[in-house]
Symmetry: C2
Subunit: 196 residues, 2 copies
C-alpha cells in the first residue's frame, strides 16, 4: 500500500505515549511520558534558540528533528534515569540497537537520516547536538524546581549530580541558560528538593 | 530573572499534558492528550513532507513550528471534537483569545511570531498551512483505522463526515496521502468503525 512504511513507523511510535519517565508533570499528578516530553522540548528549543552560544552555526530544524526522535529508542530500550549510574552502563549499545530497529522501519534516505541525527545527538559534539542536549536536560530540571521535585527526593539526588548532568551541558550551550540554571539550583537546594 | 518569560511560558504549556482529546491511543488504553498528539504530528510531518504536492514551496521548519504550537490554545479553550458542528461554532474566536493570552507570556518578536503561525495554520491557505493541516487531520484518522475507532463509533460518525473533515484536507496537500486515505476509509467502513 502507498505510504505503508511511513504509517507503520508512526504506529510503532505510538508506544512512546506509554513510556513513563521518572520525572513528574508540573502539577505532580503523574509521571510524564516520553511523547509529551519530546513535544515540550521541541517547543522549548524554539524559544531558547536566540540564547544559544553558537546560534549562527545552529540549524534549528536539525535541532528540532533530533529532539523529536532522540527518545524513540525508549520504545525498545525503556527510559533510563539519567542519575542512575549503573543503569547508564550499556545504555548506548542498547539504544543504538533500538534506534536501528525502529528507524529501520522506514525507507532510505529517511531511515539513515534519523539514525545519523540520533548518533549525533548522543555524541553531544556538534553545535546542533550541544544545544539540543542542553534543552533536553534543562526541561526536567525546571519541572523539578517548580514542581515538587519528587524524582529527585525519592532518589536522594544531590546538587553535585545535577551540576554534573545538567549544569555542564547547559553551560556549554548558553550563558543565559547557565545563569538561569545557577539561580534555580540554589532555589531547589533552599527548598530542600536536593540533599545537601 | 534571566529567561523568566521563557520559563513561565514553558511551565504554562505543561498543562497541555492534561488536555485529553476524543481520540484514543493506538492500543485503546486511554484517550490521547494534546501534548502527545502534538509530538506525533511533528514527527509525521518530517516523514510525509517528501509526498507534499507543493514540496518546493514548503518550509518544513515553519510547518513543524505550526504543528508544535497550534494546539496550545486548548489549555485555555479546551479540545473541540472536530466532528461536533455545534461546538465548532465560535471555536475560532475562543481560540484566538486563548492564543493571544498564552503567546502573550513571551517577549516580542516570539510572541507575534507564534500568533502569526497560529493564525496562518487556522486559515489553511498557504502551502505550509495546507500541509500542516493535512498531517494534523490524518494522524487521528490513522489511529482510528488501526485502533478500535472508539471516538468514531461512540459518536456515530459517518463516512461522509470523515471525507469532509479529513479527506478534503488531505487531498489538497498530497496525492499519496489522498490515496492512502481512500484505502483506509474503505477499510474502516468494512470493519464497521463508521456508520454506513
Amino acid at each position: 500500500m502507498v505510504l505503508e512504511k511511513e504509517i507503520n513507523f508512526i504506529l510503532a511510535l505510538d508506544e512512546l505515549k506509554n513510556v513513563n519517565r521518572r520525572n513528574f508533570n508540573l502539577d505532580n499528578s503523574r509521571r510524564e511520558n516520553t511523547a509529551e516530553h519530546s513535544w515540550q522540548i521541541v517547543v522549548f528549543a524554539q524559544i531558547l534558540w536566540p540564547y544559544a552560544k553558537d546560534k549562527k552555526q545552529i540549524d534549528l530544524l536539525r535541532v528540532i528533528k533530533m529532539l523529536s526522535i532522540h527518545d524513540v529508542v525508549e520504545i525498545e530500550a525503556g527510559d533510563t534515569f539519567i542519575f542512575d549510574e549503573s543503569a547508564m552502563t550499556g545504555k548506548y549499545e542498547r539504544e543504538l540497537a533500538a534506534a536501528k530497529k525502529t528507524f529501520g522501519i522506514l525507507n532510505e534516505p529517511l531511515s539513515s537520516d534519523f539514525l545519523s541525527l540520533w548518533i549525533e545527538f548522543e555524541a553531544e559534539e556538534t553545535p546542533d547536538a550541544v544545544f539540543a542536549c542542553a534543552v533536553d536536560r534543562i526541561m526536567p530540571f525546571i519541572l523539578n524546581v517548580y514542581g515538587d521535585g519528587v524524582s529527585w527526593t525519592e532518589a536522594g539526588i544531590q546538587p553535585h549530580q545535577v551540576e554534573n548532568i545538567v549544569g555542564k551541558a547547559v553551560r556549554k550551550a548558553s550563558e543565559e541558560m547557565g545563569e538561569a540554571f545557577d539561580i534555580l539550583l540554589r532555589k531547589a537546594i533552599d527548598e530542600g528538593k536536593l540533599e545537601s
